[in-house]
Amino acid sequence: MTHKPLLATITATALIGAGPAMAADCPIQVGVLHSLSGSMAISETTLRDVVLMLVEQQNEKGGLLGCELEAVVVDPASDWPLFAELTRQLLTVNEVDVIFGAWTSVSRKALLPVLEELNGLMFYPVQYEGQESSRNVFYTGAAPNQQAIPALDYFLEELGVESFALLGTDYVYPRTTNAILEAYLLEQGIAPEDIFVNYTPFGHSDWSTIVSDVVALGAGGKQVGVISTINGDANIGFYTELAAQGVSADDIPVVAFSVGEEELSGLDTSRLVGHLAAWNYFMSADTPGNEEFIAAWHEFIGETNRVTNDPMEAHYIGFNMWVNAVEQAGTTDVDAVREAMWGQEFPNLTGGMAVMNANHHLSKPVLIGEIRADGQFDIISQTEEVPGEAWSPFLSDSATLTSDWQQLECGMFDTATETCVQLTSNY
């Protein structure tokens, strides 16, 4: 019993002190599992704030099922085993009804076994490499076919790129994404020698040689384009070097999958104008819904120069879908909510409707934006809603796999042998 306080958790203090509990399960607990310290805090702290804002908004609207929502915030500190440990704590000690959390793939893979063992429910808001569809996770970020493949199509069709440099940080997202992209490019008739791949460590800063190598590809006689899956801080050095070597977007366009408004806020973008990023959301989207969201965000955070970005929209959509699904199911029970989630619709901030599919991925529009001098993006292409694919058809290992929790009740179904490969995920 002396250990009990060990596991008590901080709660968002603003939310405590609400009126007396109304139903047996009140208040409804919302777990927030984002790193507030360590290397990923840079990205994840914002998402914690977004969830807190959404919880506050929902409470102002009268809560959920007559209950107040209460956010349970923990700090996994960018330490991957801690993600697993805290997931167990959230689900068994705090008994949260839903978790919003994780950023890196490795943190997701670390907590998956716990989540599946304890039948929890999680919303994962970040663009990722796919090849996964867990029973207990709803993926509100982009799968490769909702970000990377459309961007590649844009390079091939609109920019006429014939020679590709795939630059990435050495971890699973770039590795898998690049494997999918290479397979896709070969299928599109690009020769293997026209694909240059390079991996650098996290936080890499010595970009001079690599950028020179890319520039040198131009001598091959083909239009060169760079697909960047470079993560986090390393981008600052990369773009600084691009600017220093005078690589203009007209000569060698760079499209990035991990660079958004947040990352650019640490940069002087005047020399990067015209380089690209592919996302499902840009802050510059000119819609009433987005304007409202940005205003609410600025009010919540108390700073008007803070930017919004794609994972924030993912949480916004995910949270609202969950609220609607709970209302529809009339309970926060995970299995009932899961079933109510399938087919759930909610308007995107960029216009159109996001739909949650039976493979636990969203249908969302794909946007391609060009960097502007003010650190925002000019949206130059916006597709219709694209349904997210859990398994890439371009990789031979997953070509015959599909996921359908509604009909097939399986996240890894082999259509060739008509069998469910496994019910739990690969981790």
Partner: protein
């Protein structure tokens, strides 16, 4: 061309032309936009160039009624519409009342290429230069006469030279006469510029093909011998792709065939549950082959026989052999030179990396190298300097001025921090060097977290002034960013300064005396406490100044120091503790080693770092005192 003729008779205004192809204008794509450009050029209406310019600059909007206008953005987020024909204002609207058309970079390239003809004669030289740049980006046979005409009227020598060069490049590719082309190609001999080699490589593009006999009319680049230049399997796959031979069975072909032929739990007389080895599966397959159920497996001999009937070759896309021969020769002539320049470029990169390592480690060369204090918080002094730079940059908006202020301020701030640390902590631990390591590590994590609490976890921008943001290019192959040159000279300045202080000043003499024998030094009237304090402050201060430079080159985060600390210690140890030259040698060795390994394996930078650390470990085993080992009394222990 019939529709174009129609358009000419009907379209009286630009708006009419645009409306005819309104779909393309509203949603421009690279594949479609040439049709719009064709129409516009056929219509020859006034205002076309202005419209295209605005289109390319993303200043064209479509009003709710479908009409197109040029627009000008006002301060209050509204747009003033301008009629494309008359150029008159047409009212003001909110941004959401019209749809703003944003042609992508591919479309803009097409538009700009079509604008070349208008802009080449523009009185503004900047526009003419821009036009030449777009012509270079989308080369086209039509540009030859346009540029040739503009060349006659051009009076700016620079632009003339550029035009002549562009003409050469265009002629090499597009001229109709072989002699002119070969002549132009000859002009590119020995030219190592990227654009020249790009043109030559374009001329030499090949496609792989095969035929029963070598075609007479093809311009053959290479004949591939199966088994030598192309593997038997690959060659066979090419034939199979063309449906000339049955495909080679894949890894799962036998299994799939057997799976399809299970009869009463048996395949070819073998029970299904026994088919868990390749031998039995093959036996089952042979059995089915014998009774005619399955087609025989393709053997290696079959493949060889099929492949032998064909000849595999690469043919140039360019049919003219004279041109390809000339291009090949021109390209070959640059090979050695390019290798040489690439080596030079690599050397420059290595030098630059070494100077960064040196800069990061030089403070340590004093505190660790001279004083033998293990300061794990050294990286945090670098960070402190960088944050000082950031704070000053937020106070002084001018980048140059703020840099000038930041460098001394960073020194003062970290000097003070260093002195404080020495007085409060380190001075009590001089007799326990290993414990200094722990205490300073504690300070390091405390400082890191403090920085996070104060500045947040976001990386903070520390922007280099414009004069440091470009690069120094010797040619297209050898260039280095100005910032790195700056860092190099900064490292050099520090080296000289340190050498001067340590070897030529009273302070240096006292420092050396105190580190060699504090007791003796004290009895000679030197105050060891004061000297230690100053020395440590100096090392810390230098780390702070280095932090400003490193922050500009990479990023300012609370963890930036931690990225350099292990590396810096290794630099000092490899070089040889106690000698500034040692640190220089260490940085040089590590920098060039890393670049060298990267060169061998350019796709994996991480591997290069791993092997470099391994090398260092081995190096220290065999030369524990480092490259420059101190001898005699100075060596201390």
């Amino acid at each position: 061309m019939a529709p174009v003729a129609d358009a000419q008779t009907e379209a009286a205004t630009l708006q009419d032309v645009l409306q005819e192809v309104s779909e393309i204008v509203a949603n421009p794509s690279r594949a479609q936009v040439p049709r719009l450009l064709e129409r516009l050029s056929a219509a020859e209406l006034p205002g076309t160039a202005e419209f295209l310019r605005a289109f390319s600059e993303r200043e064209v909007v479509q009003a709710a009624d479908g009409r197109f206008f040029l627009s000008r953005e006002n301060a209050d987020q509204t747009l003033t519409l301008i009629d494309p024909d008359s150029g008159e204002e047409h009212g003001t609207v909110g941004t959401r009342e019209v749809s703003q058309i944003r042609p992508n970079a591919g479309v803009r390239r097409e538009i700009n290429a079509s604008l070349v003809q208008f802009e080449l004669m523009d009185p503004d030289p900047a526009r003419r230069r821009a036009a030449l740049a777009s012509a270079a980006r989308s080369p086209d046979a039509d540009q030859i006469p346009a540029i040739a005409a503009a060349l006659k009227a051009e009076d700016n020598a620079d632009i003339r030279a550029r035009m002549e060069r562009l003409l050469d490049l265009l002629n090499a590719r597009f001229a109709t006469d072989t002699a002119i082309r070969v002549d132009a190609i000859e002009g590119l001999r020995g030219d190592i510029s990227t654009e020249a080699r790009r043109v030559l490589n374009q001329l030499l593009q090949t496609r792989a093909d095969f035929a029963q006999t070598l075609p007479e009319d093809a311009n053959i680049a290479l004949i591939r011998q199966p088994g030598e230049d192309i593997s038997l399997i690959a060659a066979y796959a090419v034939l199979a792709d063309a449906d000339l031979v049955p495909p080679r069975p894949g890894r799962n072909a036998i299994r799939d065939a057997l799976r399809a032929n299970v009869v009463d739990g048996m395949v070819g007389g073998i029970p299904v549950h026994q088919l868990d080895t390749d031998e039995r599966r093959l036996a089952a397959y042979r059995a089915l082959e014998d009774n005619g159920t399955l087609a025989p497996l393709v053997t290696e001999a079959d493949m060889q026989a099929a492949v032998d009937q064909y000849v595999f070759f690469d043919a140039y896309l360019e049919p003219d052999q004279g041109v390809t021969d000339a291009a090949r020769e021109a390209l070959d002539s640059t090979r050695t030179l390019i290798g040489l320049f690439q080596f030079a470029s690599l050397t420059l990169d290595a030098l630059s990396l070494a100077s960064i390592f040196f800069l990061a480690a030089i403070g340590l060369a004093i505190t660790f190298g001279v004083m033998r204090v293990i300061n794990m918080a050294h990286g945090e002094f670098i960070m402190m300097g960088a944050y000082t730079g950031y704070v000053i940059q937020t106070l002084i908006p001018d980048y140059t001025l703020s840099l000038v202020v930041a460098l001394p301020t960073a020194f003062v701030v970290t000097f003070a921090a260093g002195v404080m640390m020495e007085r409060l902590v380190i001075r009590h631990l001089y007799t326990r060097p290993l414990e200094t390591l722990l205490a300073t590590f504690g300070i390091s994590i405390a400082l890191q977290q403090l920085a996070k609490n104060i500045f947040g976890t976001q990386a903070r921008p520390l922007t280099a002034p414009d004069w440091l943001a470009g690069s120094v290019a010797f040619n297209d192959l050898v260039s280095i960013s100005t910032l790195r040159v700056g860092i190099f000279f900064m490292a050099l300045a520090f080296l000289l300064m340190l050498l001067f202080i340590l070897n030529r000043t009273r302070l240096g003499l006292e420092v050396r005396a105190v580190t060699q024998n504090p007791g003796m030094a004290a009895s000679m009237g030197i105050n060891p406490g004061r000297i230690n304090m100053l020395t440590f402050g100096l090392g810390s201060g230098i780390a702070g100044v280095a932090g400003v430079a490193i922050g500009m080159y990479a990023q300012v985060t609370s963890e930036m120091g931690a990225n350099y600390i292990v590396q810096s210690f290794m630099t000092v140890v490899v070089g040889g503790v106690g000698s500034v030259f040692g640190t220089l040698a260490g940085a040089g060795l590590i920098g060039s080693l890393q670049k060298g390994i990267e060169w061998f394996n350019p796709t994996n930078t991480l591997a290069a770092q791993t092997y470099m650390v391994l090398f260092i470990i081995l190096f220290i085993q065999f030369r524990p005192k480092g490259i420059i080992a101190l001898k005699g009394r100075a060596a201390g222990d």
